[in-house]
Symmetry: C2
Subunit: 221 residues, 2 copies
């Protein structure tokens, strides 16, 4: 019985890790669709998001049933609780990738981004996807040092995001208001995506240490 | 023993309800600071947010300890889980009110909003605060019908938000890019705030029915 319970807990962590992989792929494709004005990729991200939502529902359901049937305590309880929180954050990351894809689709066949901001998004996309892939590993290994290191990658995204704002707010921005609005919201999507990745990593630190290293902050605004 | 446990559960729900009241106040003051260019109100919202964060941490801690010590099942388990999720959403609502206040502070003594969009924000603010106050009641009563009715108030916010976008995107927007960027982000803060209120109400439906009426959606973009 005890044995089956640990197998179930491991399966739950695997499912959560796979969700992190899914939202990494989603953001990778969404960024490509944005930068290359690729409608097909955007459509793929949009239709794939259902799998993320389903996996989240499964994670939550399995976590609830573990709580009800096994009444875990200590580390096992923290694991189950971390899954519940992390699944929520990962679903949001999927939604944010979805928003990027939808923005690309909405403006197709026109590109969304003016040429001078595309490098910012290429870079934010790269770091965001890397964060999600590292989160996938951290869920599997519960490596506290790796989880703590994620904060600095998140700082990278925040930095790019801040620079992006100075470009948009420049008095000589020649692309009009609509492009500024799209660029602003897109920047926010990447920034929030990275915040959520850090939040998932922090939940894994909580599993190991029993302490939360600060809640998902959104201080950079 | 059983008695003390139910007292604790009720106290937890009260604390959660008070959190909803706090974020309603925060958004009310933040909106006033925005519309009336009132720096003092903005500062108050910014400093009060700490209490929201503390209350969230307390809710989570107490919920965790109930799970560990009482191993609740059925409705009681759902109550504790709903608190865990709802506290997260309410903390986000507090953060979003904080963002509104910070935006007001950043532009002070200038107003953030061009005159033609202020009525949209007055209205979104009113509906958003009403949603949070209704959520406070719904947490106390777990009234499923009231919780379901919240969706339509959220639709109101979404509608105003959509109209707002057509105003910003109008080719004749005369206020420049910086004002458009601020207005865009502020609109998003109100929209997300309302989404989270619905999400909290949905968690209360889950307590009663055992079914989640759809996850916190962010479809309106």
């Amino acid at each position: 019985m005890r044995e089956a319970y640990h197998v179930e807990l491991d399966r739950l962590a695997d499912k959560l890790a796979s969700m992190s992989g899914m939202v990494a792929n989603a953001m990778e494709l969404a960024t490509k669709s944005l930068l290359e004005t690729d409608l097909q990729l955007a459509e793929q991200v949009i239709s794939d998001d259902e799998h993320v939502d389903d996996t989240r529902a499964q994670c939550e359901e399995q976590a609830y049933s573990l709580l009800a049937l096994q009444a875990p305590v200590a580390t096992e309880l923290r694991k189950v609780l971390a899954v519940i929180h992390a699944a929520e954050s990962l679903e949001r990351m999927g939604d944010l990738a979805l928003h990027v894809a939808r923005t690309a689709r909405r403006r197709h066949p026109d590109p969304v981004l003016p040429p001078e901001v595309t490098p910012y998004f290429a870079e934010m996309g790269k770091v965001a996807v890397r964060l999600a892939r590292q989160t996938e590993e951290i869920i599997k290994t519960t490596d506290v040092d790796a989880a703590r290191a994620l904060e600095s990658a998140d700082d990278e995204v925040d930095n790019i995001h801040r620079h992006l704002f100075t470009v948009i707010m420049d008095k000589n921005w020649p692309h009009g208001v609509a492009a500024a609005v799209d660029t602003t919201l897109l920047g926010r999507f990447y920034e929030r995506y990275a915040d959520h990745a850090v939040s998932v990593a922090n939940r894994m630190i909580f599993v190991v240490t029993g302490k939360m290293p600060g809640y998902n902050s959104d201080e950079d605004l």
